[in-house]
Amino acid sequence: MADAYINIRNLFKIYQTPAGPLSVLRGINLDIAKGDFVALVGPSGSGKTTLLNMLTGIDTPTEGDITVGGINITRAKPHKLTKWRARNVGIVFQFFQLLPTISVADNVIAPMDFANVWKSGERRDHALQLLEYFGIRDQANKTPTMLSGGQQQRVALARALANNPPLVIGDEPTGNLDRMSARNVFNAFRRLSERGTTVIIVTHDRELVKEVPKVYEINDGLIGQTTLEAAARRHTQELLTLRHMQVLS
């Protein structure tokens, strides 16, 4: 795909373990267009999160290249990567990862402060607009621990969008939420994609993944486009177990 926003070429990741080398990614090639909404599925240990970490520049490949928006992030220096990530990537984690000692609004302001994208006088207003958008404007001055899981994840989403990044990554973003909250968060991702933001999520949620336009299955370090049904046929037991765990938590 010549005009792809993300190009992944021949990506390998091998970890050195006491038991010997462990190949997690074994020659991944993938193109993702701007505005794509992509889901990565696959069994535990298949390399989904490793691939996400490569896409955000958090981890480096053993071999291969990733280009995002024309920038080869596998060859960028760490401090350049920090700046790039601040302005170009919004990350949503499964366990929210909000900073617990500052307010909800301040959590959303933090990436703006770090990236210095917005004028300092505008940051708070922008943060409040984002919180308004996610329906939690009234929670702005509370600390994250005072919020429910669904509310915390919406804060995390607002934070991820603080600098209007062209790429939003979600690592199991609904994995720790009840059904209603998961649906709300998923809808938020879909709206982002509709607005032109590239969205990539890792998920085990069969219901939601059905609605994702592009689903890639990673299996044993290799990737292939699939449908959830196809993936589910191969990993029924694991998906059931994961769903069971999500319900419990």
Binding site: P18, N53, T56, I58, D59, H79, T82, K83, R85, A86, R87, I91, F93, Q97, L98, L99, P100, T101, I102, S103, D106, I109, A110, P111, D113, F114, A115, N116, S120, R159, N163
Partner: protein, 813 residues
Amino acid sequence: MIKTRTRKIWGDILSRKGRTALVSFSIFIGVLGVVTLFSMGDILVSRLEQDIQEDKLAMTKLGLTTSERATELPDARDFLTMVEAQPGVAKAEGQIISQFYFREPDSDDFDQGSLIAYFTPLTEVELEPPQLIEGDYPVSGTKQLAVERRMADTYDLKVGDTLVLRMVSQAGEGLSIPEENWTVSGIVFQPYAIVDNVNMSTTIFTTFEDAQYISGITGFTTLFVRYTDFATAQAEVSNLTGVIAGDTPHIPYYSLVFDPEQNVQIGEAANISSVLGLLGIVALVVSGFLVVNVVNSIVVEQKRQIGVMKSLGASGWDNVVIYAGIALGYGLLGVVPGVLLGIPAGFFAAKGMASNMNTVIDKFEFSPSSIIMGILIGLAVPILAALIPVYNGSRVKILDAMTDLGIDSSYGKGFLARLIKRLPLPATVRQGISNVSQKKGRLAFTMLTLAIAAGAFMGIFALFSSIDSVLNKTFDTYNVEILIQPDQQQDFNTVRQLIEDNIEGIQFVQPHNGLSVEVEGYDSAEGGADYGVSVEGYDPDAPDSVFVLDLQDGVQLSESDNPNSIIITAGIADALKKGVGDSVVITGAGNSREMTIVGISTFPFNSLWVRWDVLAEFGGYTLNGQPAARNLLVKLDKEDPTAAETADVIEDINELLLAHGITATYGNFPELIEEITTLVRVFQIIFNITAGLIALVGALGLLTAISMSVFERQKEIGVMRSIGAGSMAVATQFLTEGLIVGVLAWSIGLPISYGLSQLIAAALEMGDAFKLTYPILAPIVGIIGMLIITAMASLYPSISASRKTVSDILRYQ
């Protein structure tokens, strides 16, 4: 960016209020100590430096008495002119310093004080002059006196008030001693420590003529001399004493040489405050170890948050600023109250110590340099302490932060871990030991904190035990309670008989002479002063000797037939490399004599002992051509009489002697011992408070470390609880952890305490007399104190751990 950092810093500081309080409190204690102790020293030293002018200090002070040749003393001015004609002498001034008796008009009882009179008019005194604060200097013949400001404060005296004085000069057999009303014409301040035995709280100043009228003393009792320089003073003092002894009726019985550039008063104040201030800095540095542990713990706790912030675009520098900012926040919270309280505390400490330094701090003062030092050190210590954990935190990688399992994969495989597993101890105790061994960095800092605290405490204990030992040895050597020094030479046997016949409770009265001499080949100078070597002349043949000399070699004087026998102290013997049977040459009062060493004494202060009659002949103390005792030493029947009881006997003796026309100066040994002991105790308390502050900081360090341990092990506590562990089992684990750290710290503190006691002793310039001995009691007291401190510090977190329920922990997790 600044806002997020600031919000994160204060958010973290405020989110764990208990931990913040502990760390800030420990910094507060350190800052308070530094500001208070340095301020105290600075205020005292500044005041002394303002009041004591180097070019007005005497370089030589001579104590004068008169020989029987003194039927008529030379004219005082001629005498001073003769002294000023001696080589190197730039200025000479003479004084009468004597005892006097006074009472307030509405009181019946007379108090004893010191009367000081300068031959030079008070307005023209050049050597160590007093300063007129209020009123006027007294005028001769008008029954006027000036009181020292400390006496004015003690007795609430004002210009124009009246004091009733006893005219002891008119005492005589069958005569009653007249009393006269004298008016306070002025209040003066004497900042110079003129001579050791003057108590400024009972000191008056009169003209020279009036002093002669009051005391009956006609000649000088002291002579102050300033030479062209200190080296000349050292070289020429023996010539001066020789000339005075040979050419005048005066006998210089002591000679002191001082270096004006190393003023003893200022030097002592500076030394003490420096040592105390350094201990304050130690307390602050110890609090720095606590900061290391806490920031380290925060960084470990927040590893995931660091990763998140980095994933949001925070740079390594942002994290450095945030976590160093937390340390700075702790510093600020400690520094602000520490400085604010340290300023008045320093003033009051200086005010309290002023009398020990012979000065007065009356109006509020503060030390800007000490405040700046407290602020700078108080802020620098936590920031510097936080640098390494902060640097480590800034290097945390996002991936590591997100995937950290909190424990190394090699855990449990090391030798120590395997050894602990096999210890025949209850599981909870083994777990406590295991906890200690897991966090080695934290263990090291917590132990170091407590080890320094234990070291300071035990070191100071050892130091003051050694001082006590030296003092006790000194006090035990003197087997007397009262020294009587008649103003005029008296027949010893007559006075003794008088006392023994009229005063009850006297065990014996014996003759004594004292003289300061030079010993050939021995340098008695210490620091900026040379007090010479004191020779004590006594009667060794008396059934009960006034000196109980402990000899490490040789025999007592009583066992030697040679009249020129001498006992010297081990310090002099070592310096001269001489022993029993060798000879030494002593020079003093214009004479030199070769003496044979018969004994080596263990007495701590370098001194010499000879027969009193031999010293009388040597020093010129004669009466009717026969050796005379200048002093009488009195031993009371009562065992260990108090200062007050001794004072009562002195009063009786004084009345008796005055009734026979004998005026005298008295020494009350129990009172002297009480004063010295009190002074030592004051310093001991100050040092112990400082050590206590360090120990408190150490205890806070342990409290924080165990609290962190409890916090980190919540899940472990939950698991233990869920498998049936009771409160006691959980508490035991953390108590064990605290006690193990305490015992390890104590063992490290042992060598620290020895080194520290040596260092403090050296810094305080304790002199040759002081021999540091390390008492066995120090480590015993240390381990008891350490166990108490560690048990107390571990108790709260242990109880808090034991109260955690499974549901609390799971809810938290």
